[in-house]
């Protein structure tokens, strides 16, 4: 078959394929998945996540178990979303003698009903740096929430969390406005961040009224010598709502996990199905064409594996060998080749009797040549369909093994996200944004391959029947 012929048959195939609507939908979905699998790590909000998925410090500035941002559309009280402020206006003032006063001013537009859960100011620098942080509110009040001399080793990072480090300062701020109110507060019991963003009336602790508008957060640092420095600080606002799909109980961004999971689902699904279908087709051809003892042995092997309960077996083996994704793929392959074996076997028995095979044998072709050059090309279309159709089950098996906590801990897969959700009480606490998306993705990917496979089957099947 030369190039032009194959181009032609490809065009014919496409003409037929494009008539099957579900097949096109499946193809479009698959393309989207592949693109997201390749470029996903560039569009996610936390690019380093695939290697830091289980790293607690990587996620520490996120809120815990926060719903997605878009729930604000559906609720009357708007929660504050998570954001990071990284671009302050910088002002450097020379005080003489190598001393300079650096001010970094962040503006933050706050238009929400529920205050953020925390605000973390990350200060990175070197040496002893006196720092003060002030929040200027839209109602004209201004609060100094932090004042300390930082002791930083070379390029050290100091995190100032308003909830944890600024309670006393916030009470002092309240005292400056309303002495009586401040006397009812104790640093252990108040929510400093809530007070900072609310009206200072008697209800500030139980039902606060938000003060909306533009907040100015100013970080002032005194640089005492040229050896010392303070880089541009950044402010993480860990919101009431967070990201496209919220966060989980370990503060991880669910959307990031979902996107990273695509790659692994594709790798596992496609690799396993390709290997197992090729193995099944080849073994089927060999068993049917050569026959005799080989046939008997392979058929018995097929029956044996067909009878083995797959999931229990996967579980035992994953529990024995410390699970890596490659062993898992190997084991699934050992089970899944049986899927195409029997069909190929009976098809080969038919093809074997065709005259062109006989002719080829008369010309002195070896058995291998006949099997590889004459029989397997005929079975190729069937193989593609059965590859696509076996992928959903493979993805579900990987997810099931992961759900039982036996997955590969170095990758991020949807099954593992669901395992975390299940073991950390997402179901009981109704954290739907953590449970629904991974399962939906498994279903969606399964669906795209099912659509593709059925469309292929529809096109290719009549051809096979006429043979």
């Amino acid at each position: 078959m030369n190039l032009r012929d194959s181009m032609e048959s490809l065009r014919d195939f496409w003409a037929e394929f494009s008539k099957v609507k579900t097949g096109l939908v499946g193809l479009a979905l698959l393309l989207a998945f592949v693109l997201l699998g390749i470029f996903g790590s560039f569009i996610v909000p936390f690019p380093g996540a695939s290697s830091h998925w289980r790293d607690i410090t990587f996620w520490q500035d996120n809120p815990q178990a926060a719903p997605p941002v878009w729930v604000n559309f559906f609720s009357a009280t708007k929660g504050c979303p998570s954001t990071t402020l990284t671009k302050p206006t910088v002002n450097s003032q020379d005080e003489g003698n190598g001393v300079s006063l650096e001010t970094f001013v962040f503006t933050y537009a706050y238009r929400y009903d529920l205050p953020p859960r925390d605000m973390v100011i990350r200060l990175k620098g070197t040496g002893q740096v006196p720092v003060s942080i002030t929040v200027e509110r839209p109602d004209g009040l201004s609060a100094e929430i932090y004042r300390d001399q930082l002791q930083l080793a070379e390029d050290d990072v100091q995190r100032v969390s308003v909830s944890r480090n600024c309670a006393q300062a916030v009470i002092e701020f309240v005292r400056g406005q309303n002495e009586d109110l401040a006397s009812t507060m104790s640093p252990e019991l108040i929510k400093p961040i809530g007070i900072l963003f609310s009206k200072l009336d008697t209800h500030v602790s139980d039902s606060p009224t938000p003060v909306k508008g533009e907040y100015k957060i100013t970080v002032t640092a005194l640089i005492l010598s040229s050896d010392f420095k303070l880089d541009k600080p950044a402010i993480s606002i860990s919101g009431y709502v967070s990201g496209l799909l919220g966060t989980d109980a370990s503060k991880r961004d669910v959307f990031t996990g979902i996107i990273i999971g695509i790659r692994w689902a594709l790798i596992i699904g496609i690799l396993t199905s390709v290997v197992s279908v090729i193995a099944g087709v080849l073994l089927g051809i060999i068993a049917a064409y050569i026959g005799g003892a080989v046939d008997w042995l392979l058929t018995r092997l097929y029956e044996l594996i067909y009878l083995l309960p797959v999931l229990p077996f996967l579980i035992v083996i994953s529990a024995i060998f410390k699970p890596s994704i490659w062993t898992l793929i190997t084991i699934i392959c050992l089970f899944f080749w049986t899927g195409s074996f029997k069909t190929v076997y009976s098809m080969t028995l038919q093809i074997k009797e065709e005259t062109f095979i006989e002719a080829s044998r008369a010309l002195g072709s070896s058995a291998w040549r006949i099997m590889l050059k004459h029989i397997s090309p005929i079975l190729l279309p069937y193989s593609f369909a059965s590859m696509a159709l076996s992928i959903p089950a493979i993805i579900v098996y990987e997810a099931s093994v992961s759900l039982l906590g036996l997955g590969d801990a170095t990758i991020v897969s949807w099954g593992q996200i669901l395992e975390a959700a299940l073991s950390q009480g997402a179901v009981i606490n109704r954290l739907w944004w953590w449970v629904v998306p991974p399962g939906l993705m498994i279903a969606l990917m399964g669906m795209s391959f099912a659509f593709l496979g059925t469309a292929l089957d529809k096109i290719l099947h009549p051809k096979l029947k006429t043979r």
Binding site: P309, A319, V396, L403, V427, R430, I442, A443, G446
Partner: protein
Amino acid sequence: MYRKYVLKRAAYGILMYVIMIFVYSTLFNSVADRTMRAQIDEQVAQEMLRYKNLSPDQLKAVSDSRREGKLNQYHLNDPLVSRIFWRSLRTLGFDFGNSTIIKASTGDRLVIKIILEALPRTIILFTTEVILVTLIGVAMGLYAARRPNGGFDRVNSMITMITNGLPAWWLAMLAIMVFSYAVPLFPSGGLHINPAPTGFRGLLDYLWHLSLPLLTLVLLGIWGTAYLVRNIVLSNLQEDFVMAARARGIPERKVLFGHTLRTSMPAIMTLAILGLFASIAGNIIVEGIFGWPGIGNLYFIAVQQNDVPILMATLAIETLFSMVGFVVLDIIYGLLDPRIKVGGKA
């Protein structure tokens, strides 16, 4: 002729089962040996407590001889092949020994008792599910086949493709989240409330606990079954005898139920019987999520606790049932399709 066919099939099934048990014994050989030795040591130490008036030397001699006796009784001093052989033989005789950790609700550690306690629960949930799914699925499939490419048929095949790659356990998680926590209609898991009510109230309570898992599984299962039944029936509707029946003026209803359903029966029975016997293995994850203490749940606990005797017994029993399923299927095939039993001669 038919009897010979049945006997042949049964013998073949038994042979396969024996081979599988040997495979399991080989796989678990070293762990099972270790477990058994530990159990014998424990047992001997227990016995030695009774010999109070023996000197330490005598005690050691007695306990050593007891241990040797036990080891020989279970063929643990034999070479590898012989150990595997004797373990397989014990397993084939349903002598699974004692569990290492897991206990039955009565406190019993006999593996067979633990399994017999879990088995009925799995049968109640999953076998009921398979029966319901088959009945509803066949009805839906026939309905879809009456008007291929009609509204219902399209919806059905669409939902089939969506549910195809949908993990049942995920749906179970959603069902619990919605119907047990958001809208508390059903219990979130378990067999009964504590303390368990008795009599008629106990039955109602049991049904109430059964309903959410059962509904979830049935609602997920029916689509695929309906789609398969539809395909089987449709391919039979293309046959000449159907055309002949229609030409004779037989009403479409009769053609569908009388002629086509009869010829579709072997294939539909395959679905039903394989499902029925596979259902006995339960579903490890779904049982875990619904807190349903059946075979699947037992299996997973056994894996986690490394309880090899239970593990092996569960696998053996699951395999036994699927094997029986295959044999029964072949035998019924012979009844439904007379061409098969003559040994493949059409």
